[in-house]
Amino acid sequence: MATEHQSADDGTDQGNQLPLGASIAAAAVSAAVLLPVLWLLRVGLGVGFDSAVALLTRPTTLEVFVNSALLVALTTAACVAIGVPLAYLTVRTDLPFRRFWTIAVSLPLVIPSYVGAFAFVSAFGPQGGFQRLLAPLGVERLPEIYGLEGTVLILTLYTYPYVYITARASLKSMDTTLIDAARTLEHDRWETFRRVTIPQIRPAVAAGALLSALYVLADFGTPSIMRYDVFTRVIFVEFGTFGRDTAVLLSLQLVAVTVFILWLESRVRGEERTTAGGRSRALVPLGTWRYPAVIPVAAVAGLALVVPVAILVSWLVATGPTANQSLAFEWSYALNSVTVSTAAAAVAVVTGIPVAYLSARHEGRLPDAFERLSYIGYAVPGVVLGLALVFFGSAYATPIYQTLYLLVFAYVIRFLPQSVGSLRASFLSVDPSLPEAARTLGQTSTGAFRYVTLPLVAPGLFGGAALVFLTTMKELPATLLLRPSGFTTLVTHIWTAYESGYFGQAAIPALVLLLVSGLSMLVILRQEGYDVK
């Protein structure tokens, strides 16, 4: 890191002269991220284009495309509508037990969405558990949960934390004296929020919304269980019938859609060169709304966390002594999950810094390209990314194939945009005059970065680490393909139980997943104390 920022703050801050060290680091990161795409192209181009064209022109293609677009648009909008107010409530107001709620509303991110979907179908299906509860009241059939509405509901509940966590980091590092200034200019609270706060947090919200949108686009499990026909199902069918090459070719199509969404996001996030200090002032008092405001917060966390856990526990109780012995829970699974997730979070943040820093501090095609490229690994379905690394690992990196090193590498490639997005939004909110002031006071550029910039971006840094940590905790497809033999994590254990129909026994690892993730989040959030006052 030391050399990377040597020339970064040499007065040409917004200029076009790129710092050499940071550029080399960012280029190396981008090259690593591009590895899987090279394999995609290699395999994809090997397929006859005839079969690809036939797939693309079949009658249901348009329908599937419209379905996917609707799903992505509605879910992303819903994520913003839930994530931003939750972030505001837990950062800027005197909501009771804010730290608890911060963790509670972040945690849905660790629940694999297929588990959530499965639990919701069991609870709220036409004749699920909820209906059986209501049966004495004469309720024969609940309204349909399958289809678009249900899919949007589930995916929103498990992806809004992307928006929440990035918006939260941004609100934390925002200069609230601007709000005071607006207030003295006789703006009411809403108008202040609209004219001051929103422009400040917009890059962060856009980054979070982008992560939600791309997740939804590449997810297969939830739409399948919710019986909603989308893009990824076509890919899944090809994999299921051993048509790996066609599946890979179709994934390139997903990459193309991703490029479109990335372009869209760069238009939406708008004027970005907003800078601010980092001084934060008193919280907004909610007054008589202080306790009622807990209700929506608790409702979101409750729905997303309590429903799946309650369903799983009810099965666990029902299963009782007939439990399968191969599925006995071991604490080492939790340790394995935490170890790889911590490693992935640390590496993703460290490698994300040069990419995010360049992109936030320097205009130009190259920094933009580095930043946009970091999303590629996230855009392809986990299976495809996993296979790409199976190829490189088994052919060129045999010593680390089926070891934790390659697994962590896969996580970093897959989740890098989560740390980059969060870090970038924070770098944008640091006023460049602050590190400059440090330089005039005799600090080296490294010192200025270390003592001024870094503390200012700490919320983004830990927000990014939290995102990578939580999503690695639940990552399944790449883990299944790249894990060493016998390496079991909480999620592979949940999957094993789920896949064999021992749903009840998925309850224990699911509860441990929530507990361990919650505790880890507490540790991560405590580091934020490192915040400037």
Binding site: R58, T60, R244, Q325, S326, V390, S394, Y401, Q402
Partner: protein, 393 residues
């Protein structure tokens, strides 16, 4: 050396038989390290392959069968060549279903280590294909014949020794000997007993679209591999046009699509739909956990709806020790393993000396269609385009 080894084995066998007579069904009575220095030859087990081993096989696991104890014939592990060395097994069958069995076999030999990698069969095929000649895999253990047939077709398998192949009847293995079935699964019709009685279910799958009682009440799984194999069988037996008509007819009937067949079986038990298409053991799994569920199984006769598929194994071309690999496959055909499948996964044992368990008709009372070769079921390409063409996918 052979003599002394055999003497030791005979003594152990006697002790084991005596012990088994008293404690069969008790968990964990196996003794790890058995025969660790053994140098068993490849011919040993085959002599008994037509059943009637002299040993009592011991039971794997806790004996939690809801269907009671029974006598088991076949060749015991004791009579098979010893396993020694390290073996990488890519298993498309779940750890929850076969982990106990693999662990049992591993624990029998002190110098034998299994490195299992569990994933779905389709993804493991992709993984083996992607690894190419660098694959560390020795054995592939699959949930269906389709995945095995695909690997064989792509030249990634090795021919199994004849004496291993002979454990199972010829209709449950590849004609070229590249793979064999280790346990069987019948296509079946789960139905809700509150809505239908057994006589309401047609015995001809082709008449389902014309069965008015099924309108809006039937579920299927177009993305699921077993369903796709069933449609492939229909194409082979009835031809392209009749299959297309059937697919269209089912959709006109208002068929509901589900993600997998366990989901269908539960949906039928819950009354979400009243009848479905699923492999037989999913129904048994629902019933084993919810004994009062209004759920029963019907079978069609001599048509695609009654196809009998297998879970099985093959030795990969990248296997570093193909004798060890094929002897491991042989262990999956032992009396112990076959009994385990019947008891724990509710599948049909394929070694004739071992009977199925549970509320299932015996294998010879089923009426699977003749003239369908299981390896033909791997040919999914035409099926997929037909499913897509008719809008089922």
């Amino acid at each position: 050396m052979h003599d002394s080894d055999d003497t030791g084995r005979t003594r152990r066998r006697f002790l084991r038989a005596a012990a088994a007579a008293g404690v069969i069904g008790v968990a964990g009575c196996n003794t790890p390290g058995e025969g660790g220095d053994g140098t068993g030859t490849a011919t040993e087990g085959a002599t008994d392959s037509d059943g009637g081993g002299t040993d009592s096989p011991e039971q794997i696991g806790s004996g939690r069968s809801p269907f009671g104890d029974r006598e088991v014939g076949g060749t015991t592990i004791e009579e098979m060549p010893d396993l020694e060395g390290e073996l990488t097994v890519y298993s498309g069958r779940g750890e929850a279903l076969v982990g106990e069995l693999v662990g049992f076999i591993e624990d029998r030999y002190s110098d034998f280590t299994v490195r299992p990698l569990y994933n779905t069969a389709a993804e493991l095929v992709s993984q083996i294909e992607t690894e190419g000649a660098n694959s560390p895999a020795d054995v592939f253990y699959s949930v269906n014949a389709g995945a095995l047939g695909t690997l064989a077709e792509r030249g990634r398998t090795q021919t199994l020794p004849q004496e291993v192949l002979e454990f199972v009847p010829s209709n449950f293995r590849d004609p070229d000997g590249e793979w064999l079935g280790t346990s069987g699964r019948a296509r079946s019709i789960p139905y809700n007993t509150d809505t239908f009685s057994a006589s309401d279910i047609p015995t001809d799958i082709m008449s389902f679209p014309d069965t008015d009682a099924f309108a809006g009440e039937i579920g299927w799984t177009p993305t699921y591999s077993s369903f796709q194999a069933f449609i492939t069988a229909m194409r082979i037996l009835e031809g392209e046009d009749a299959t297309r008509e059937w697919l269209n007819g089912m959709q006109e009937l208002g068929v509901s699509a589900y993600g997998d067949e366990f989901q269908i079986s539960r949906a039928v038990a819950d009354g979400e739909v009243s009848v479905g298409l699923a492999n037989h053991y999913y129904v048994q799994r629902v019933v084993a956990r919810r004994s009062n569920a209004p759920l029963a199984t019907a079978f069609t006769r001599n048509d695609a709806g009654a196809i009998f598929n297998v879970a099985g194994a093959c030795v990969l071309d990248t296997a570093s020790d193909s004798t060890l690999a094929s002897n491991f496959v042989r262990h999956l055909l032992s009396a112990e393993a076959q009994d385990y499948f019947a008891r724990s996964t509710f599948e049909y044992p394929l070694v004739p000396a071992v009977d199925p368990i549970g509320r299932l008709p015996p294998i010879d009372e089923l009426n699977p269609p003749e003239n369908v070769d299981l390896s033909q079921l791997a040919d999914l390409e035409e099926t997929i385009s037909l499913l897509r063409e008719t809008g089922a996918l």
